[in-house]
């Protein structure tokens, strides 16, 4: 055990920082369920709760990147499951636009994700976080503005 933890300390100390915007009804509940079922995932994510993924202004995503987030997730209810009927459709449209925009500004597409996570999908929430952390570890830290 001791050897393992030392080995870990020797690795480059890059811990990706992820901001996840989760809708109250599905994806935030999914994140809670990951906890209730004691699924383990890396502690790199900070969740900002919003009532609907449709509340997530593209400006929030840009703000997160500008403040040094290595990855941003916008998570909502599955298509047709939206608690507010179709807020997530707006999220999907904005997500497509944002992805294109971010790529043009030189931010790798892996750094921004729109995910549909149901209240019953604790597994999926954990999987998304694990997947993103592993992707970001490969990519390395985001290039800082002006750097």
């Amino acid at each position: 055990m001791a050897e393992q933890s030392e080995a870990k300390q020797d690795q480059p100390s890059y811990e990706p920082r992820i901001v996840a915007f989760c809708c109250n009804w599905c994806s935030y509940a999914g994140a809670d369920l990951a906890g209730t079922t004691r699924l383990q995932y890396p502690p790199n994510v900070r969740i900002v709760r919003v009532m609907c993924s449709g509340r997530v202004d593209p400006a929030f995503v840009l703000k997160a990147f500008s403040l040094g987030a290595d990855g941003v997730i916008v998570a909502g209810c599955h298509p047709s499951d939206c608690h507010y009927i179709n807020g997530n459709e707006k999220t999907a449209t904005r997500g497509d636009f944002l992805s294109e925009f971010l790529e043009e500004t030189g931010i790798e597409p892996e750094r921004f994700r729109v995910e549909w996570i149901a209240g019953s999908e604790g597994q999926k929430f954990a999987k998304v976080i694990r997947g993103m952390v592993s992707d970001l570890e490969k990519l390395g830290p985001i290039a800082q503005e002006g750097a």
Binding site: P43, V48, I85
Partner: protein, 1011 residues
């Protein structure tokens, strides 16, 4: 007080989920409630469960807010650790004598801190943990207990006096009177004492109590619980090893003629499936096997759960198995089971065996029956009638939950609301006479005041505290900008902490509060109420989720979890400093209800609402009321319900509060809780405060088995008609089960068909003894007391043939006659029948009209097309949308008594709304800044709720305005608005951005630590 004066108070006996629900519904609709509970805490059996099926929700997580809501309700007086002694009087006016057993603790002084229990030298065993864990002589049954007051077990206590020395509150009173008699006056009594778990040791062949590795289901449930005796670790009690193979033996003390319990306990099959799934999640590589007689997954979405267990989790299932005995290898303590596999008998060893111990009447039932003078059924449960499922034999005394027969939580909760509805109707004239109105202190004005934030960090027992360094997080919080006070609590949700929070708000003049604990989804309302009681607007509260989204998911990384918890608290504090008080407009209530659907459920709900004193509009699309009930000629008990239906119809026609709209449908529904306006197809406009959806279901029209092609292939309902008209002429009848249910397209069970098959088969055997009856089935699902009908059918010579869904029976025409071939699954032989009639037990399918209705009401349906309730366990008749309720077949397939229970429940829920002059709206809504608005109309275009509307403010100038009562607060319009004129209250852009900044802010200490 005169003898005949009715009393506006109700006694509820039993504090489990059913008793709590009945108490809350009555207290919310203007009645004083006394909640009597024998044990020191409310919560019932549900508080002992780890998870609940079919959603795998954490039981305590969903129960805890209910416990607290009950405990803190101003109209509920809790009488825990007490017992009912004597009841005199009659409906409307009972005098009840009870004994309040002494806790030897001053209930007013005890804070529940637990300092007394630590030094107590006595170790007994915890009844709550089924004797698997130690308990002190001074104890609370479980950490979330309500009321959180300690109790001294005088049987264990040696009177050493140590606890008294440690108790700073001076609450311990050895010399207290052992028990006190009290009398109370109530108008009605609701019995919800629950059930006892069958003592499996009585079935000596299973070795429970002898072989250490044989556990009962409730013991295993405690073992699975993170707060249980093994902290959620699945182990073999004999050696502490982690089991690799677990066997579940079903029907222990149920469906068992060797015991008095020949009924089915209804919940054990699902409980075993759940335990197998959860155990496999706890122990990687664990193999579970369940030995069923039949798989009884008959409830809403239960069959899908069974499929997942079998196919996704690989739970091995053997049907047609009643395990005869368990043998132990004395060397290894392994357990050997022999079982039936097809036509063979196999033998296999297991590491652990879990017995599905059934439900028995509660120990108190005999004494209760005697003191109340009411009838019990032959098993010792409370006797009820299928057509009056919440009535006991004594007027004014109602029953709910497992005391009237084994049932699961949602059915208990629905029945509880139903009982509450009945009691409310009986005492309608006394509503509001004995209650105190919830008064909140005037809100402190915090505008222009610097934030003074208080942070409360929760240990949640060991849930947070064993991973996250709570004292460190608390200390960190205390240094954040704006924070003037921080403390850590063992359980921030406990009642004593609520008191503490209020005290600290006063003492430190706090104007914002942050709680770092579990999820706002379950606990925010509780804390919001607390800050409100201390004079703060409820929106001056923020939560940091450091349990579900931190300590539970980063258990092996305590350091990183602590850093994350600090970040989450930092984010919450940042937002808190920007919170503003939000007004909650008071919305007046139209005291009327719209009931959609005039079948049994709709009719029952309508009458009960009318009896409670409110106007009702009952809308039925057919030309007459009655729905499916019109075609039911005999119930399970053999009663013809037509007389009851006719009386119900007449009562409805005669009632002054009811308007019946026949041949009508709802064209449009506008508005919101308290203020709906609906238009019927005929053009009539109705104003109402609530909606009850009772739109029923349809009988499947089978396409299989030559149905519609051969005149002698008929449906179960046709058979019922023939029997009622005396027109059955047959030597042989073959009934095929599961037609149109439990298949790919309709995966779930239709619940009622097995019982209906028994009712019809028995009727045939009774009236046509010369007729042979075959029932071709997959699993017989006569749950509860309907099992008696199954047993009787077998006694009456009905032949049961089990078929495999992979090889269903083959029906072919042989000229005018029919030939049925069935591959019997367990004798592994093909049997040929030449019946005169093939009767198809066609499924209950969702009403195709549901989709349209769902859109009009903006309420959800499940995958199958039934309406989806707000919560599958604890809110079975509520929609997520306030003011709209559901009952009967619109919810899911159910039996007559179950539909009536739900209909009464929906009526009770309607009462909780209509009994109030106004409702408080939520404050989280969008608001338009008129100066910025350019009147483009984009917001109006995208809002599904019609909340923003363009108004012409001056000639040619349009501005958007949001109707606060219609706005659901999603905030989509804020993002769509091109002129940034819309603000989403409580989720303002600046508030969200400050959280992003806090999330990404480098913590100084982090940097120092790294350097």
């Amino acid at each position: 007080m005169s003898e005949n004066k009715f009393v506006g108070a109700v006694l509820v006996v039993g504090g489990g989920p059913a008793g709590m629900q009945a108490a809350l519904d009555l207290a919310d609709s203007g009645f004083k409630v006394y909640l009597l509970e024998t044990t020191p805490s409310i919560g019932g059996t549900m508080s002992q469960l780890d998870k609940t099926f079919p959603t795998n929700d954490c039981s305590m997580c969903i129960l805890s807010p209910k416990l607290v809501a009950t405990g803190r309700h101003e109209n509920i007086t809790m009488l825990t650790h007490s017992e009912l002694k004597k009841v005199e009087g009659q409906a409307g006016n009972f005098k009840v004598t009870l004994t309040r057993y002494s806790r030897y603790i001053d209930e007013e002084k005890c804070t529940g801190c637990g300092v007394c229990a630590e030094p107590c030298p006595i170790e007994g065993s915890s009844a709550f943990d089924r004797d698997l864990a130690p308990a002190k002589a001074i104890y609370v049954p479980f950490p979330q207990a309500v009321p959180l007051i300690y109790t001294i077990d005088r049987g264990l206590c040696i009177g050493c006096g140590i606890c008294e020395k440690f108790c700073e509150a001076e609450a311990i009173k050895y010399d207290m009177d052992p028990d006190i008699e009290e009398t109370i006056d109530v108008g009605a009594i609701i019995l919800a004492p629950g059930y006892d778990v069958y003592n499996s040791s009585k079935k000596v062949m299973y070795g429970h109590g002898t072989f250490p590795n044989v556990l009962s289901n409730i013991e295993f449930e405690r073992m699975l619980s993170a707060s249980g005796p093994t902290e959620g670790h699945v182990i073999r009690p004999s050696d502490g090893d982690v089991p690799k193979k677990i066997a579940f033996i079903q029907c222990v003390g149920s469906r068992d003629a060797q015991t008095p319990n020949t009924y089915c306990s209804s919940y054990c099959c699902m409980a075993a499936l759940k335990q197998a799934v959860i155990a496999q999640e706890h122990v990687p590589g664990l193999k579970t096997t369940i030995f069923f007689m039949d798989t009884r997954a008959f409830g809403k979405e239960f069959e899908e759960y069974l499929h997942r267990a079998e196919n996704e989790y690989g739970v091995r299932m053997f049907r047609n198995n009643r395990i005869s005995k368990v043998q132990e290898d004395p060397g290894t303590s392994d357990l050997m089971l022999s079982f039936i596999d097809g036509a063979d008998i196999d033998e296999e060893p297991f590491d652990l065996v879990v017995l599905a111990s059934g439900a028995t009447p509660p120990e108190s039932s005999k004494a209760l029956a005697k003191s109340l003078g009411m009838n019990m059924n032959k098993f010792g449960f409370c006797e009820t009638d299928e057509l009056a499922p919440v009535d006991t034999s004594v007027p004014g005394i109602y029953v709910c939950g497992a005391f009237s027969g084994p049932k699961d939580i949602p059915d208990s909760v629905a029945q509880a609301s139903g009982a509450a509805g009945k009691a409310a109707a009986l005492l309608a004239d006394e509503r509001g006479t004995l209650v105190t109105k919830k008064e909140y202190p005037e809100e402190k004005d915090v505008t222009d005041k610097e934030p003074r934030i208080g942070v409360f960090v929760c240990h949640c027992g060991i849930n947070i505290g064993s991973v996250v360094d709570v004292p460190m997080v608390m200390e960190y919080a205390s240094r954040l900008p704006g924070v003037v006070y921080a403390e850590a609590n063992l359980y921030t949700c406990s009642q004593d902490t609520q008191k503490k929070i209020k005290e600290m708000i006063d003492e430190h003049d706090l104007n914002r509060v942050v709680v770092a604990s579990c999820t706002p989804r379950t606990h925010e309302p509780l804390f919001q109420n607390t800050v409100r009681e201390a004079g703060l607007n409820k929106y001056l509260f923020e939560m940091a989720n450091i349990r579900d989204q931190c300590s539970w998911v980063h258990r092996l990384e305590p350091k990183a979890a602590t850093e994350k918890a600090k970040a989450l608290v930092r984010m919450a504090v940042a937002k808190a400093s920007m919170l503003e008080p939000l007004p909650q407009p008071k919305i007046p209530v139209t005291p009327a209800a719209l009931v959609i659907g005039g079948g049994l459920s709709g009719m029952t709900a309508a009458l009960e609402i009318a009896k409670a004193g409110y106007e009702v509009h009952l809308v039925e699309k057919e030309k007459e009321l009655g729905g499916h009930m019109k075609r039911i000629h005999h119930t399970l008990a053999g009663v013809n319900p037509q007389e009851t239906l006719a009386k119900l119809n007449k009562d409805l026609q005669d009632h002054k509060n009811i308007t019946i709209h026949l041949g009508e449908t709802v064209e449009e529904v506008r508005g919101y809780i308290g203020n709906f306006e609906s238009t019927l197809k005929g053009g009539e406009e109705i104003k109402h405060g609530t909606v009850v959806v009772a739109s029923g279901a349809v009988e499947y029209e089978p396409k299989e088995y030559l149905c519609g092609q051969h005149p002698k292939v008929i449906k179960q309902t046709d058979l019922g008609d023939m029997l009622a008209n005396g027109k059955l002429d047959a030597k042989t009848v073959a009934i095929i089960q599961c037609v149109g249910s439990r298949n790919e397209e309709h995966p779930n069970c239709s619940r009622i068909c097995c019982s209906m098959a028994m009712a019809n088969a028995l009727k045939i055997r009774e009236e046509h003894p010369e007729t042979s009856v075959y029932i071709l089935f997959r699993d017989i699902r006569t749950f509860g007391f309907a099992e008696e009908n199954y047993n009787e059918a077998a006694r009456q010579g009905v032949t049961f043939l089990r078929y495999d869904p992979e090889a269903p029976p083959r029906v072919r025409a042989d000229g005018d006659s029919l030939v049925v071939e069935v591959d019997e699954q367990f004798i592994e032989e093909t049997i040929t029948i030449r019946p005169d009639y093939v009767v198809l037990n066609a499924a209950v399918h969702p009403n195709p009209d549901n989709k349209d209705l769902a859109q009009k009401l903006k309420v959800p349906q499940n995958k199958e097309g039934f309406f989806l309730e707000a919560h599958m366990k604890l809110r079975p008749v509520d929609f997520a949308t306030d003011g709209i309720f559901l009952c009967g077949l619109a919810h899911s397939p159910r039996l007559i008594d179950e539909s009536i229970s739900q209909a009464l429940a929906a009526a009770a829920k309607v009462n909780t709304v209509l009994s109030k002059p106004f409702i408080e709206a939520e404050g989280v809504v969008s608001v338009v800044d008129e100066d910025k608005c350019i009147g483009c109309g984009r917001c109006e275009e995208i809002c599904e709720y019609g909340a923003p509307r363009l108004e012409e403010v001056s000639p040619g100038v349009f501005k958007s305005k949001v109707n606060e009562a219609l706005c659901k607060g999603c905030g989509s319009c804020v993002v769509e608005c091109c002129s940034r004129a819309i603000r989403s209250k409580h989720f303002r852009s600046d508030q969200i951005i400050t959280m992003i900044e806090a999330a990404l802010a480098d913590d100084d200490e982090e940097r120092e630590a790294k350097a």
